[in-house]
Structures are given as C-alpha cells and as structure tokens.
Symmetry: C2
Subunit: 300 residues, 2 copies
C-alpha cells in the first residue's frame, strides 16, 4: 500500500510501524499522537516516515488507518478523522475490547470507508514509543472482528497486512472476542493488579520483604501489574459485562478452593493442581510460550 | 564438610547437590529418595556421590542432612532417620512452610542434633531429578528459621552452606516466615491454579481458544500453575491459617475492584494500576527479576 497511518505511537503503534517497515508493507508510514511529548520521542526513535501535527493530515490519503490509542479515546479520534478519511480506506484498531469499539467508532465511520476492528494478542509490560519492536507480533495471533456488511476483500487485505507483520490471523464475532479476552487477558490482569495491591497493603509484611522474596511466585504477577494504567482502565470500563461474568466464575471457584484449604481437603487440591499442568504443556506445544524453566530467566 | 545427605532428589534436592559440587562444599554427597524410580534417574544424572537403598545409610555420619521431600512426608522421614543421625549433625530442610515443619519434625530430633529449618526462595515449574541445576540459588534468598535454643555456631554453619550454594541468607521467626510466604508465594500459586482451572471449565470459551490466545496474559499464570501438585497440596495443608488470612485480604480487595468495574469507577482502577508499577521496578532494581520485556521471551 502507498500510505499507512498509525494514530497513537505507544508500544503497539510503534511495533506496527517497525514490523511494517521490516515487511516493506507501506510506501509511507504516517504517525500521529495526541501527546506532543510522545510524538517528539517517536520522531527520535524514527519509526515513522512522516509525523503530523494535525490528525487529519496523518490519515489523509491513507489506505489503512490503525487506531493504537487507549480505547477510551476512540470516540474523539473518530470524530476528528472522519472528514479526512479517503474513500475506500480501511479503518481499523488494536483495542483489547471490540464491542465497545464498534459502539463508539461505528457511528463516525463514513459510508465509503471499510471499518474492520482488530486486536493483536501481543504486548509487553512496557509502554511508549521506545518500547516497540519489529518482532512483537511474530507467531502471535491477531483477531479481526468484522462488522455486519464488512467487505470481504477489505477483510482479506487487513488479514494479509497482519500476516505481513508476522501474525497468525483469526476472524470472529466481537461479542465472542470480548468473552475470550475477558478470561485470557482481562481477568488475569485484574487478578494480578489486585494481588500486587493486596501485598502492598498488608500491615504484617513489609514491602521490602515482598520485594526480596518475590522470586517465590509473586514477581510473575508484578510483570502484568506493570502494564499501562490508562489502557487497562479503559479495558475494564469497556468490557464490564464479560469481565464481571468471568470474575464471578473465578470467585465461585476460589470459594471452593478456599473451603478445600480450610477443610484440609488434600484430594481436591491435588486434583486441581494436576489438571492445570496440561494447559501449560499445550501452550508450549503450540509455540505460545517458552519451554525454558522460569521463562528462561534463571540466571540472576 | 565430609558428608552431606540429601533426602528427596527432585528439583531442589538435585539443585543443592549440583550447587554443592560446584562450590566444593562436601567431600561426599549422599542421596536417598523414597521413589526407586526417582533414585534411579538421579543415578543417571549423577549429582550424588553415593545413593542409598536405605535412608539410614544415607544420613549416617553426615554433618548436614537436608530434607527435600514434600513437607507432608517429613514426619515419617524424621522417624526413620532419627536413630541414624550423627551426634552434632545439623538437620535441616527446604520446605515452603516452617511452623508445621517444626511441629512435625521437632519431636523426632535427637537432643544431640541441631535442628535448623530452612527455605530457599527459588525454584522453577519443573520437578524431578533432571530439573535441578547448579545456579538455581544464585542471588536468591534462603531463609533460616532456627528454633528456640538453636546453637548459634550451627546456624552460622548452615548460613555459610547456603551462601556457598549462591544464596543470600536471612534469619527469621517461623511464624513470620509463614505469613511472608503466604503472600509472596502461597497465595500467588493458589490464585494461579484457580484461574487456570476457571479458564479450563468455562463453557463459552474452548480450551483451544484459551491456549491460542494465552499470550495476552493468561500464559504467565500457567507457569506457576504447572508446579508440582504434591508439594503444593502439602503447602496448603500445612500453612492453612496464614493462607486463609491473606486470601481473606485478597478477596476484600477484589470485591472493591469488582465494584469499581461494576460502577465504571475509572479513577479507582487507574489509581491501583499506577501504584502497582512501582513494586515491579523495585523487584528489578534489587536483582530479583529481569528487566527484559516479557521476561525476555519475546521471540516466539
């Protein structure tokens, strides 16, 4: 394509730019960020061909426009770019929720623009334009959630784009996406944030002790709990129903486990602890995690 | 020392042997495992100088005997080895709980043997005699929990031993140890086991989907949830009070967070998500985790 526009130049936006450049997917990579500071830092890293002071200039004539901002900002972005989108352009995004994105963006999309929400299942706990890298999407999945009436050719084009970035691509309904991600991503983040908060607030154990002895399990949770606060606030504000549903199930299961601990029911504990091993094995087998002990970070 | 005896030849026992050999800490490393299969595999790996068909022969004349079996097996082991322990020997262990270990082992310890419980804060999700390696304890903490009347010289000797294995060493009261580990290790494991179980049991999302899209957060939990089932059953059976106490706090905090999601209270979410970032930074700063994004496993 001639021009790709990336709106929002943080971890995901910058990684798309790096990977698009690596794959020679676009003649021009145009960038815009609402934060002048972020935009300046993006310029220093240099992953965009053009950086635009006005958002309209960034999307003008772009064949593909990808929103990479926190989903809470989408509505305003959509209103600002709508008049400048080229006829036949694809408008997509990378938001972790899809129902709310369709709700917020849909009404602003011009009739001659193809609106295809998307979500790459990849990331790190780091944020900002310096955090991106070209291989972030390699071997990971990207999920497209076309809306009713989406042009199949445009869906294919976006699919090819994500494959060009290194991803495998799945297509599904936005409501199912939001439920799947609620259990695979949103609940794990909520739980991780929560346990780090609990540990921080305990009176009987100092923060210094929690930090020193974190290699016994706790440190794993702190990685996820170091994720971008704005992005994650917006996820929970915009996928409330699915998150509360899986959280309800989590709480029921935890109550059972709590009873097993309370009653000294070793068999229930042992059965669960045995069952859960198989899932990790399956994740490693399909290449979605490393088989190395401790994620390969054993050397201190 | 002339002879070190390791009872239980899994991940921790084999790692102690590897590290003791690396540090030239013992003239003879004697091993015993209740499982003939494990003992045979330990022989194949070859980290012990002598392997013993009877547990008494393993501990005979040893200056230091370390129990590396699941804590639920300690009582029987103690009864079996007590008549064979050398006068002046140190009897120690590596169990993840310390109050129950003192309760179970204490009555069996001969008066002329120094009983000093210990717990290295190190491990991986792998088990068995093939899983051990010499650098497991490098830079990690080992906690000693001497009992009232422990000989200071024996405590110093055990401290030097763990330093020789690569550890930093702290000394604390067993009750405090059990509370600290309840929050830094036992609760994280319970939560991880639970969320993996919840994901497995959800009807609306297939196990295949959970596995495919696990890179969005879930996979981190599966590592911990792949830990040894027997060991962890015994931890929860033997640190019930402290685990239930921190679990109660976790549940209170999670209820608050659930309300914040339900009410769309973005400020509460944002404030927590911001607070938790600092703890990860502190863990990295003291060298207890890697600073690399995604624990350094970005390449698929």
């Amino acid at each position: 394509m001639k021009k790709l526009a990336i709106i929002g130049l943080g971890l995901i936006g910058s990684s798309i730019a790096h990977a698009a450049r690596r794959g020679k997917l676009a003649g021009e990579i145009a960038g815009y960020d609402a934060s002048a500071d972020v935009q300046e830092r993006a310029g220093t890293v240099g992953f965009c061909d053009t950086l635009h002071a006005d958002i309209g200039g960034a999307v003008k004539d772009a064949e593909l426009v990808i929103l990479c901002a926190p989903v809470g900002a989408y509505k305003d972005i959509a209103a600002a770019i709508a008049p400048h989108l080229a006829p036949g352009a694809i408008l997509s995004d990378v938001g972790s929720v899809k129902g709310a994105v369709i709700r917020d963006l849909g009404p602003h999309v011009p009739r001659d623009v193809h609106f295809i929400p998307a979500h790459p299942i990849a990331g790190t706990e780091f944020s900002g334009p310096e955090a991106g890298f070209a291989s972030l999407f390699d071997g990971r999945w990207a999920i497209l959630t076309p809306v009713p009436g989406s042009d199949p050719a445009a869906v294919e084009k976006l699919k090819a784009f994500w494959q060009g970035l290194g991803s495998q691509v799945d297509v599904m309904d936005s409501a199912h996406h939001d439920l799947v991600l609620a259990i695979t991503s949103h609940l794990p983040h909520l739980i991780a944030y929560n346990i780090v908060g609990t540990a921080h607030d305990l009176e009987q154990v100092t923060e210094g002790e929690v930090i020193k002895y974190s290699a016994s399990g706790f440190r794993d949770f702190t990685r996820i709990a170091a994720s971008d606060p704005t992005m994650w606030r917006d996820v929970f504000l915009n996928n409330r129903e699915a998150v509360l549903e899986v959280l309800g199930r989590f709480n029921e299961d935890l109550s059972q486990l709590q009873r097993a601990v309370h009653n000294g029911d070793g068999q229930t504990l042992f059965d669960l602890f045995t069952r859960t091993r198989a899932i990790r094995r399956a994740i490693i087998d399909i290449g979605q995690d490393t088989a190395a002990p401790n994620f390969g970070r054993n050397k201190p």
